[in-house]
Chain length 431, copies 2
């Protein structure tokens, strides 16, 4: 007998995937809807952007992850609106498919926030999708190629300048990896330029890197970055990004820096579905596009709709809403599945959601990291090993975990980045 209760999950990221998995034995039909056909392990996307891993090493087909789960189906489609009254999803070009839900879990995530300058996204992509990572890989590698052919030293220097905006974990990891690329990977590859002469500029508007970390680890991270040849510039606000370069204001000084590639990691905002859901329910989003949720992660007045992950603003535990981190989304996904399972079983609801914070970490280049475990701050090689161990633990969800481990060990030992391919552009010129 097919169960009649239908749970629809929007988004196959950490929140949505963990919710779906935790609903494995629920007496309900589960449908996971995502625009993409794969789950992406975003924390390692910077490894794709710098050529150490291939997209398939960190992306797993959703159907493959869920095919053993008999009550669950996967729909590849984009949700453009939610009809809260009819309890129905509106899909892009999905006229015929009617996705009616009894319970809805919205986990559509976030995108980069250009703070009103969306036109910058073309010149300074973020690092959210596989395509973003391949674009950055292409731009960075092409910039070295262009520098090699360039005869004007000023142009050459511009080609070999890489700017990372935002010194959060992604920015720090990306800048560190670029340092590795310039100083080690490409060291012997060119004849007319020395890749080690590249300028890697990490711009941060605040007065510290890794704002969410304690000061001692911030300093250690800064030191590690400098050892990798990264120039950290604090208190630096980006006021303009144009094809000519990035305009930076530091104190009273404003300058425009020409660059071979620019990467934006200076903040995120919730996906557009948040606004659609707010409109449909009469709620409002906060300035980052998030929806405030109840202690059980449901929407006020809509116990049948749950919002989790980067789209949710959960402020029942700490004064600040919980941060948009993978572990938060995973735990929320699992919690919501539990709420739904108990409801379907006619049991009392569980206690309010509580995020269990295992700590914060960021890796810098090949063998350095900082880890804030609350009771313990570690840095350097040991922190890096911890980081590696924890990431491998999460990757254990994936079928190809062994492969990624081997690929990684290989890249580590050889300092190689075998995936440094320039692909997708230029389009083939002849037919």
């Amino acid at each position: 007998m097919v169960p009649s209760h239908h749970i629809v999950i929007i988004g196959g990221g950490f929140g949505g995937l963990y919710a779906a998995r935790a609903l494995k034995r629920a007496p309900a039909r589960v449908t996971l809807v995502d625009r993409r056909n794969f789950h992406l392990f975003q924390p390692l996307l910077y490894q794709v952007a710098t050529g150490a891993l291939s997209p398939a090493n960190i992306a797993v087909p959703l159907r493959g992850l869920l095919h053993r789960q008999q009550n669950t189906s996967v729909v590849m489609a984009e949700v453009v609106d939610i009809d809260v009254k009819q309890r129905r999803l509106v899909l892009r070009e999905g006229g015929q498919l009617d996705l009616q839900y009894d319970t809805l879990i919205v986990a559509s995530g976030s995108k980069f926030n250009y703070f009103g300058h969306d036109q910058w996204s073309e010149l300074a992509p973020g690092l959210k999708t596989v395509e973003d990572a391949l674009t950055i890989r292409r731009r960075v590698l092409s910039a070295f190629e262009k520098a090699e052919l360039e005869t004007d030293p000023r142009e050459q220097r511009a080609c070999m300048t890489f700017i990372v905006v935002g010194a959060g974990p992604t920015g720090v990891e990306m800048a560190g990896a670029l340092g590795e690329v310039a100083h080690h990977t490409l060291r012997r590859d060119f004849r007319n330029v020395r890749p080690a002469d590249a300028t890697i500029l990490l711009l941060e508007a605040q007065d510290c890197v890794l704002g969410q970390f304690p000061p001692d680890l911030q300093h250690k991270a800064e030191k590690s970055l400098e050892r990798l040849g990264v120039t950290v510039r604090l208190g630096a606000t980006v006021t303009q990004i144009s094809p000519q370069g990035v305009t930076v204001k530091t104190g009273d000084r404003t300058e425009t820096i020409a660059a071979g590639a620019v990467l934006w990691t200076a903040g995120v905002k919730a996906s557009a579905l948040g606004a659609a859901l707010a409109q449909a329910t009469g709620l409002v989003t906060d300035r980052l596009g998030r929806l405030a949720v109840e202690p059980d992660l449901s929407l006020p007045g809509h116990p049948e709709i749950f919002v989790i992950g980067d789209l949710a603003s959960f402020s029942h535990q700490t004064p600040q809403p919980l941060p948009g981190l993978a572990p938060v989304a995973m735990q929320e996904g699992r919690y919501v599945a539990k709420v739904v399972r108990r409801r379907l079983a006619g049991k009392l609801p569980p206690k309010a959601f509580r995020y269990f914070d295992r700590g914060n970490m960021a890796t810098i280049g090949r063998a350095a990291a900082v880890a804030d475990l609350g009771w313990l701050h570690i840095s350097g090689y040991l922190a890096w090993l911890t980081w590696l161990f924890i990431h491998l633990l999460y990757l254990v969800q994936f079928q190809n975990r062994v492969l990624v481990l081997i690929q990684w060990a290989y890249s580590y030992l050889t300092r190689g980045r075998a995936a440094r391919l320039i692909t997708q552009e230029p389009p083939r010129i002849e037919t």
Copy 2:
């Protein structure tokens, strides 16, 4: 002291790369020019198109392959013309870089031949580049996704019809791999369609598959294909490809078959540089765009220009010009390097080029292949092992050979195709 003799090689495929490597100790400067920054192991491209391997598993950065070779530099640029009188290359958007040569080795390869119907290339891509492979991967996987959401059975059947035009080695390998995908990889992934119901149609205008193989192996290959659920249709000419489908004429019967994805492997012609070179030298190309070469692979009247690989028509050994195969290009590349080295050393030229034919093979799906070693015909599992062994031997040129082997073993054992990602399209809709 920098040697004054400058050897320029156009193309980093099998011919160009093997020539460059064999010039390692030549008393000359060597420059390898390619549009792309990597060497591509084309024989395994169908594994990328069907999600078993990632592009980086079969593509290696040219700079990495050649960085130990002190006399050699790599230039990433597209050659659009050759000024034979001035001995200079004309590069696209390369105004400032003047590539003057003393010896030129042209190894720019081939592209798919649509026999006057170049407009078909968009609807039925070939399998020459990484982008081609990713396009095909995307189309095949998207077709299954579309079928899953489709309610009209006729549309559903159309989505799940895949047409491969041309039953040469690439077409046979591709059709076999698609059979694997439908019958094994995706078996449990869908809820509304059975991937095993997919129609995989291999169309061949001649009356046999693998035209260059002996009849007993042709029959064995046909059998293997049928076991994988591939429908082989011989004597079938494609007369039209449109968004509605592929129009096929078999005998007196003409029908139009709607398909989820179409792949073109029905023949190649030489790259456009052949025509440019013909015009510059007053020579003519044959109907496949190739240039007839002397017994030492130089152009008639131009001992300083060598043409090798798919661009060359070498007819001093067999009545038919040598086929466009990787081993031919490799051997030609090595031979030409030898000619140049002897010239630079003031020695007599070597004997005329002779291709040493080690045999012909094609693989069909997971564990079947046919191999024609001349004195021995083998098929089935043993042929497949031979095929595997030989391809791994060639891959030994690559630094990441162990990784590819492991990846492959893993895919083989699990029948998995972890790289079945739909990427690059649709472009991100929101900003």
